[in-house]
């Protein structure tokens, strides 16, 4: 029997990072009303500090930090682990959730006339629940524990979609729920088979025990299918555009920027952490093709939308496609796979920040103009200069123009695909950028043209500033130093290093 794992110094930070939002949910729910907003706003700085502390520890020790819950090591107990990518995602989640909380104060403050309102209470509790679920997903080390976290994420995200109660939002939420439930149950079936084949669900232990048997392949296929449905990878993307486009802007930003990344993160964990010892080339190629199809189809659909929020939602479908190019480009331990890995993670981060900023801006725009029809945006840029600056900068990152996080991501993807000799992968990357330029052009040209718009409402400066700050982060990611990419490698299993 292998040596049992123990808690590393600072491991308790991981438990605290999870328990903070969970306690927040309960503290918000009991008194209800305005307390929910206060609790949510107060806990975000602490969560951000915890995420930074985790990142600091990981960077200092150059090793993942581990906590065995209850002092009971796997396989019987559950372990939490934070490696480089966990730490980075924790920080990203804390920043975007904080931004969404500050942005949402305008819309989801409890009205003066009532003690408690439905939409406010739901929003503040579900926002914290999404944060809690993502935290567990980023640091969880046990596949069944991660299943419960996935369900937590679903139960938090669905009510946000239909929070304003319009029939089309209810239909979108229901469709989202059914896809998500299918995704989790398929994932759970894979978990059952993994346990039946290997007698553990702990990720590193599984990685040591898995063999390329039909049972393991079936389990991996079922889990992947479930996770893809939750990530909305083409062709199971149908639920995403109506759900993300109909939710209120603050919720859309979190859903598009973070929630879909949760299930993507688990797909990474599965193929790069549980199954690195298996010959996964074919699977990586299939995922890469699906991703490429998503890039093309999502972009073309985005080109055809009449509403700004729907266009941004379809752009999410396309940008998710890019994420899946990480599978062929970072597989194995070749010279280029480090570049592919950095590229994929950079794409996750750049898209999270840019997309959140764009949804924030689209929400401001819709409130200011009273509509979000692209054809009627004439002259809007002059009326809302800061909002359009944000959209333009965010779009820069989506298209992959320098300097931006999106550019770094796509540039490194191109490098990796040329270095690997599979230059075919450059085609979807380049085509996606061209098509993205097309749909961005569709927004910006009418907006910057001459025209008169009457503003129904002047957007709040603070909301514009929050959106702009996020888009700045997306741009700043383009200047990330090599040390940042080295940090992302911490804790990543290398196939050759395994027995």
């Amino acid at each position: 029997m292998a040596e049992l794992e123990t808690t590393t110094p600072g491991g308790y930070l991981l438990v605290l990072a999870i328990l903070l939002p969970l306690a927040g949910i309960m503290l918000s729910f009991i008194p209800g009303g305005r307390a929910a907003e206060r609790v949510a706003l107060c806990s975000t700085p602490f969560g951000f500090a915890l995420a930074c502390a985790v990142a600091f520890l990981v960077a200092r020790t150059r090793k993942p930090i581990v906590y065995t819950i209850g002092g009971l090591p796997p396989p019987l107990g559950i372990a939490l682990r934070a490696d480089g990518i966990s730490a980075v995602m924790l920080i990203a989640a804390a920043v975007i959730v904080s931004a969404a909380a500050l942005y949402a104060r305008a819309k989801f403050a409890t009205p003066e006339s009532v003690r408690e309102s439905r939409s406010s209470l739901t929003f503040w509790i579900m926002l914290q629940a999404i944060w809690a679920a993502l935290t567990i997903i980023f640091v969880g080390g046990d596949l069944f524990n991660l299943y419960v976290a996935l369900e937590l994420l679903t139960f938090a995200a669905v009510p946000l979609v239909c929070i304003d109660g319009r029939p089309e939002t209810l239909a979108a939420a229901l469709r989202y729920l059914l896809f998500a439930l299918f995704g989790s149950i398929s994932y759970l079936l894979g978990v059952a088979l993994f346990y039946g084949a290997n007698g553990t669900l702990d990720i590193p232990l599984l990685a040591q025990r898995v063999q390329a048997t039909p049972v393991v392949w079936t389990a991996a296929a079922l889990m992947t299918a479930g996770l893809l449905a939750k990530t909305a990878l083409f062709p199971v993307h149908l639920w995403l555009p109506p759900a993300h486009a109909n939710a209120p802007a603050a919720a859309s930003a979190v859903l598009s920027g973070l929630v879909v990344k949760g299930s993507f993160f688990l797909t990474l964990r599965l193929w790069f952490y549980v199954l690195p010892a298996l010959p996964t080339d074919k699977v990586a190629t299939i995922l890469g093709w699906l991703g490429s199809a998503a890039v093309i189809a999502g972009s073309i659909l985005a080109l055809r939308q009449a509403r700004l929020k729907l266009l941004i939602a379809y752009s999410t479908v396309a940008q998710i496609g890019y994420l899946f190019l990480i599978f062929p480009l970072a597989a194995g331990s070749q010279a280029w796979s480090g570049t592919g890995w950095s590229a994929g993670l950079m794409q996750v981060l750049a898209h999270a920040f840019a997309k959140a900023a764009m949804f924030f801006s689209a929400g401001l725009l819709a409130e200011a103009l009273g509509h979000d029809q692209i054809a009627r945006l004439g002259g809007a840029a002059r009326a809302l200069p800061l909002t359009f600056l944000t959209i333009t900068l965010g779009a820069l990152s989506l298209m992959g123009l320098p300097p931006s996080g999106g550019f770094s991501a796509k540039w490194m993807m191109l490098q990796a695909s040329i270095a690997s000799g599979h230059w075919l992968w450059t085609l979807p990357i380049l085509a996606g950028s061209l098509l993205a330029a097309g749909y961005v052009y569709r927004i910006l040209v009418p907006a910057f043209s001459d025209g008169q718009v009457s503003l129904e409402l002047q957007p709040k400066r603070i909301q514009e500033a929050i959106a702009f700050a996020l888009t700045t982060i997306a741009i700043a990611l383009g200047f990330a130093p090599q040390a940042f990419f080295d940090f992302l490698e911490i804790g990543r299993p290398m196939p050759s290093a395994l027995p």
Binding site: G70, R115, E116, R118, L152, T218
Partner: protein, 317 residues
Amino acid sequence: MSLLPYLDIGLAVLIVAVAIWTIAAPDLFAAVVGYVAYGLLLAFVWIRLYAPDVALTEAAVGGGVTGVVLITAGKRLGALKNIAPEVQPGLPFKILTGVLAALVASAVCGAILMLPEPPPSLAPEAAAAASGAGAGLGNPITAVLMSYRSFDTMLEKIVLILAVIGVWSVSTDKAWGGAPPPFRQPKPYAPMVFLAQLLAPVGILIGIHIFWTGANAPGGAFQGGALLAAMWMITMMARLLEPPRVDAQWLRLALVAGPAVFLITGLTGEFVAGSFFAYPPSLAKPIILFIEAFMLLSIAAALPMLVAGPPSERPDQ
């Protein structure tokens, strides 16, 4: 020689047949009723798999409470006159779906038949650890739920709270703060009232008994809580009690009690036992029962609220 294998095969055939009925029944309500029968049949399978704890849960929740939710929904949807006629998918699509489903089913069948021998298991570890973290717990499942995987159990209770808030959140703004609609039509019916008055005290007693024995025998907070929940629902169906308002302070405290006590004891574990969610071995059993008592309360509050649905716009009587 034994009859059991034939009974097993008969049960399997019956279950598959009822499952086919729930998928293929022409009528929505008939399908729902089929599903409830199916849930009860499943409980037998769990008994045959030596899983009485799961059988209890499946009968109470999978068959019982889920059945109530689905039947209520089926009835209300059946009563709506203006539901659009269902668009039936074309034959090629049906065949394609059938092939896909058959492929998945046979892949899973194959995987089950190819599971390794000897089967990997954590039973030896769980049995060996019974003297430590799960000290004094004769029921290994309770030990797993409350000790080794207590983190999952706490999260699952949070999922229940979120589900309650999620269900409430699909109400209208005007109805917020009100109570869910009553469980039944206006006039309480005498036999129903009689049943509730007689059954509720007995049921509460049995629920607490199941919770208490759960430390050593099949049962536990979840199964006991489900029974308490059923008793509350029966009294609400008899209109002896009405569903509480969603902003009632006691209701929210009851809903949160289980996970909150779990979280607080988990935090104190760091100071008294050296790790979050650890228990000092000498006190493990009383602490676990203490947490479970609050979880019992939360489950008994959450399940009826999930069945009752969102607050309604009708003013409270």
